[in-house]
Symmetry: C2
Subunit: 98 residues, 2 copies
């Protein structure tokens, strides 16, 4: 499929994270991942074209918020916990409370 690259969290800025989470669609994706541990793209609660979804996932990945791994033709996504625990304290609570 593709070699997914995940950024160093040192190099992710707060504005970038905020920007990534400023879209309702992407917030829904994060909340689904927080509830389900690991999900393929087609299992996410969105109603956009697959090209659009691919874009949204790349934005979240580049912001250091999710991890993506390949399994067959699918890619499985999960929350990048280290980002929330070590780099952006409070962000997890913020998403949970919404």
């Amino acid at each position: 499929m593709k070699a997914y690259t995940h950024p160093d969290l040192d190099q992710v800025s707060l504005p970038q994270v905020m920007q990534a989470l400023s879209d309702p669609c992407r917030i829904s994706i994060m909340q689904a991942l927080m509830a389900e541990e690991e999900l393929a793209c087609n299992a996410l609660p969105v109603t956009v074209a697959k090209a659009t979804l691919s874009h949204h996932m790349a934005v979240l990945r580049d912001a250091g918020l999710i991890l993506t791994r390949v399994e067959g033709t699918k890619c499985l996504n999960s929350v990048r916990m280290e980002a929330f625990e070590d780099y952006f304290p409070g962000l997890l609570d913020l998403l949970k409370a919404a």
Copy 2:
């Protein structure tokens, strides 16, 4: 000057808050207000034209993050603490840590 309106926090969405904080300039403004209690617009640590600053302040105000009150020809801005304490838990930590 003007009658500033502040939104009900019930009607502010998380994407709107995230969008408001997705700009480095606005994050700097919030951090300055968190440190100084109350500041006039011209005392904020920004280097943009006053029309631009006025826009940024309106974005923060509409997102429920700041309060603005008039005093003479100046307007004094402060953090809207109820938003952080009751509606967006974790957000204050997120801004402090950055």
